[in-house]
Assembly symmetry: C2
Homo-oligomer: 357 residues x 2
Amino acid sequence: MLTPGATIGILGGGQLAQMLALAAATLGLRCHIFAPPGDHPAFAVAAARTEAAYDDAQALAAFAASVDVVTYEFENVPAGTAAILVDRVPVRPRPEALAITQDRWLEKSFIRDLGLPTPAFLPIDGFDMLEEGVATLGRPSVLKTRRMGYDGKGQVLIGPETDLRTAFAAIAAQPAILEAFVPFSREVSVVAARAADGSIAAFDLCENAHKHHILALTRVPAAVAGATAALASAMAGQIAARLDYVGVLAVELFVLETAAGETLLINEIAPRVHNSGHWTIEGADTSQFEQHMRAIAGWPLGSTARRGRIEMENLIGEDVARFARILGEPGAHLHLYGKGEARPGRKMGHVTRIFDD
Amino acid sequence: MLTPGATIGILGGGQLAQMLALAAATLGLRCHIFAPPGDHPAFAVAAARTEAAYDDAQALAAFAASVDVVTYEFENVPAGTAAILVDRVPVRPRPEALAITQDRWLEKSFIRDLGLPTPAFLPIDGFDMLEEGVATLGRPSVLKTRRMGYDGKGQVLIGPETDLRTAFAAIAAQPAILEAFVPFSREVSVVAARAADGSIAAFDLCENAHKHHILALTRVPAAVAGATAALASAMAGQIAARLDYVGVLAVELFVLETAAGETLLINEIAPRVHNSGHWTIEGADTSQFEQHMRAIAGWPLGSTARRGRIEMENLIGEDVARFARILGEPGAHLHLYGKGEARPGRKMGHVTRIFDD
């Protein structure tokens, strides 16, 4: 159990690291940000920074020596980085969670092996396997690289007319999986935390709308049956427990409407705080960022009680030009990440609106 | 009107500066902290720092050149410091508010000249004046230095038996005022903001309990009549308007129970965010820290709507040892300031508890 004044090391310097650092500061914890050279939002709110490549062993060793625990804001931390750190300092969540979630094949297999529902999937290690896979799963189906996919990157929809050679070339013939297309009615996510003592607390189920594969809007509570929400939460808890996870994680799921009612399929696991949990800053007793800090510090989890009905809107690219109008909107909570250029598709900030339940 | 990415200069590096910096970061603003050499809480959450004395003209000029607006966390900014800055960069609130509020004589005279009620007071510029003053105002009365008093420092109660020579020596024979003793029933405060366009917004009236002259507990709403609360709020607005103030200020008042009902007397003005406003972080739509940033950035003020009934408890000195118990208390919002040593009387953090109204 850390004491106030301890130093949290964070790999990554983006908005998730920034909001983690703000939560840490509120709890009397110091932050040391490790990120590649550049102008990162989290640098501006941290007590210390290391600007170095993620494979700089010397910089990683010095970083490890200067902090009490290491955490990260993204799942694509290289395995070698984690290995260097874990020998020197507690890394939370444990790197095994990274190894599984940064590879879609391992991730989906892990979910299936837990007995949890996921879309049908097959490994694709060459063009022949893609042809066979499409014959098995049918069209439409979705080809996804095993590694480094996010916000829709590294994905190709295989429709009725899609040429398979073109599709395979589009992902540069990388190791991949093929997934059955899921005609879902809603996308939802569970943001949950597991403490060092094994206790688990989930925030209320979020309903997510994407634009161009990037999260645009999160609504809480999700418009699903109470039993569906409880089941999603239980699944997230099962995943966290099996991973011996410490910290906040997010589980994204599809909701299908079937004759028997709502059915859930797990889409993916994010071993970190998550964009769909940003509403917790003002909308829950404890924010996901504070919750993550509590967990990795070995402290008890906070209450996840929600207040009101919530909408969190991402400000993407030029959306940020609306900041003055949002400031004038009574009760709207504006968050800007301090990024310079408002490039298309770049997450510049978000706004949370709370309505009476 | 500043745009996101602008830099806020803050004089002072304590917990108020820290919480201002956290609010600034959330709005996409950068902070540059100017404070004397030392380990200041705000340094750990700011993009830039200058460690220099407040009378270091060269450091002040460089600081002014690096920021878009300057503000401060405490009223005892030296006049010379303000003068150097104000020639180079907008200073908000304007230094005239400092000049008035850092001198009890000017402050009380300002309040009286506005036609607002304050305890009877007299200037004390020598021992003869003290003898005459006590003859006029009677015992008990309170001798207070004109300058540099806070948390009860620089004050002597003149009781029935107090030797006046001893009392005068206790404040080192400094220029002072003598105030009539006020048999108040409650101490309350208004935390309000005035925007650059002159609009004013006050948070709900706070009721404050002190221990050893240090704020121990703030309760919101204050247990006074609605008309009393409205009057206090209107007085704060009048003060802010007359000062042509931009930013958050706090007005501390005494409530007296008289035959005619509740009467208000203004005790003092703090030209800054205030300890009795810390509850607004979780308890109001907009925190006092964000409100101050909005005002000095030339942005519209945010909603001051309150949720629930609120108690804010200061963690003073060894109180901070209770942090783990507070973390385990459902719905309690813990704030620690990242200060090292828990010296007696030192404000180490606070906790905010919200109850259904």
